[in-house]
Point group: C2
């Protein structure tokens, strides 16, 4: 997939969702900026109409949609946060978030939430993508590669290794605003929670995919190991496909 995140002249979210051309770059974007409509921090190819005005544009507080969710975090972050100098910890988190964002944007996802070291990305909303599960897996692999490259020279104290854990799942989610005082949207529902649990179960360097995702990336998942996991709060064991850096 091509790097497109610094090219779109109109908001790709507003276009995909409503066929509405909202200029986000170039001279036509200036009057919009004056009105407070700027590029979104979630993805520089969408605008703040996508991000903030869910109920006014969609005329409903949330919608059901099919999407792929990705969670990523730094394994052992709590342990590190107890030992690392705060400035080094901050730098680590910044580099991680920036690398993740680049990888996610390159595959048309949005960085929907960041909390501490962790982040949640959504694929297929608001930028539509037919192969959203494949896009998320590509982004996940890209995150692992980027972090492996960036973090080799990080002078962490002896015995402290740095690794990223990622979970990817696809399915039905509720997207919208879930508090009356916040106007930025998010996705909730079982699919989202399974993804968060997958990520928590991923070891450093691993990308855990559900069956639903693996079916969409058969070529990549073909040789991958599988594992049956009992995830907290989820009744049935979940079969996961484990991608590592060698895939």
């Amino acid at each position: 997939m091509a790097t497109t995140h610094d090219h779109a002249r109109i908001c790709r979210g507003c276009w995909d969702q409503m066929r509405m051309p909202i200029p986000i770059r170039g001279p036509l974007a200036i009057p919009f900026r004056v009105l407070g409509i700027t590029r979104s921090k979630m993805n520089p190819n969408i605008c703040t109409i996508c991000e903030r005005s869910f109920r006014y544009v969609k005329k409903q507080r949330h919608i059901s949609a099919t999407a792929t969710i990705l969670f990523a975090d730094i394994r052992g972050y709590t342990h590190m946060s107890e030992r690392l100098d705060p400035v080094m910890l901050s730098d680590l988190v910044s580099v991680f978030h920036d690398q993740c964002a680049q990888a996610i944007w390159d595959h048309d996802g949005i960085v929907n939430k960041q909390m501490g070291d962790g982040l949640m990305a959504i694929f297929n909303f608001p930028i539509k993508s037919e192969r959203h599960a494949a896009a998320a897996v590509a982004a996940a692999r890209d995150i692992q590669h980027r972090c492996a490259e960036r973090f080799t020279f990080a002078d962490l104290p002896a015995g402290m290794a740095l690794g990223i854990g990622i979970g990817v799942h696809t399915g039905q989610v509720e997207i919208g605003e879930f508090s009356t005082f916040r106007s930025d949207f998010t996705a909730i529902g079982g699919t989202v929670n399974v993804t968060a649990r997958l990520q928590a179960a991923a070891a450093a360097g691993e990308i855990l995919l559900t069956d639903e995702v693996a079916a969409q990336v058969a070529d990549i998942a073909a040789g991958a190991a599988t594992r049956r996991l009992d995830l907290k709060g989820i009744e049935q064991p979940v079969l996961v496909h484990v991608l590592t850096n060698s895939f």
Copy 2:
């Protein structure tokens, strides 16, 4: 503590941090709104200068500060998200977030992050509060009371109870922006992670406090049960003081 969250005419964060009077209500606020400076979604008594322009105002990307952190979530949310109708789940999350926000704002905290059902609040930044640990505990108790009241009539499926788990810890944190593409600040560091772990260890209806917090609310914590917890990623067991609805 008085309910002040709908009274301030100037941004309390800008005033406390910089002695700068930024109008956020009344006619004087209109020119600021035109410039895009509005009330923050984190707390309606602070403005978006506090929220978004950390590096320009403070001239540094992050600062060390003493603060109290509160994490709250709905216990068993993953289990619920697998079983509940998405609309009911959405309503549940919305009511929870709104009740939390009111409680947190009443005690001069900010709702810094929301992710799924969970949220993170900060006390003592940007609104300064000498007794920030006590304020956070008061907010936590308020959340429990509000949710106990609001959720009794929620027609959850039989056998599905609803309870809130809360963790509160106080100490040194790094506050600032931790990615180059996001301009909203957050707090990171060991104190934040311990709080997140406490919340994860709290049963429905419980508020877990560290020793540092309990020392600040001696009257409330006096009769509370204590528990020694092994928290993931944290080397030493942590002694917690357990507040329940009876306190």
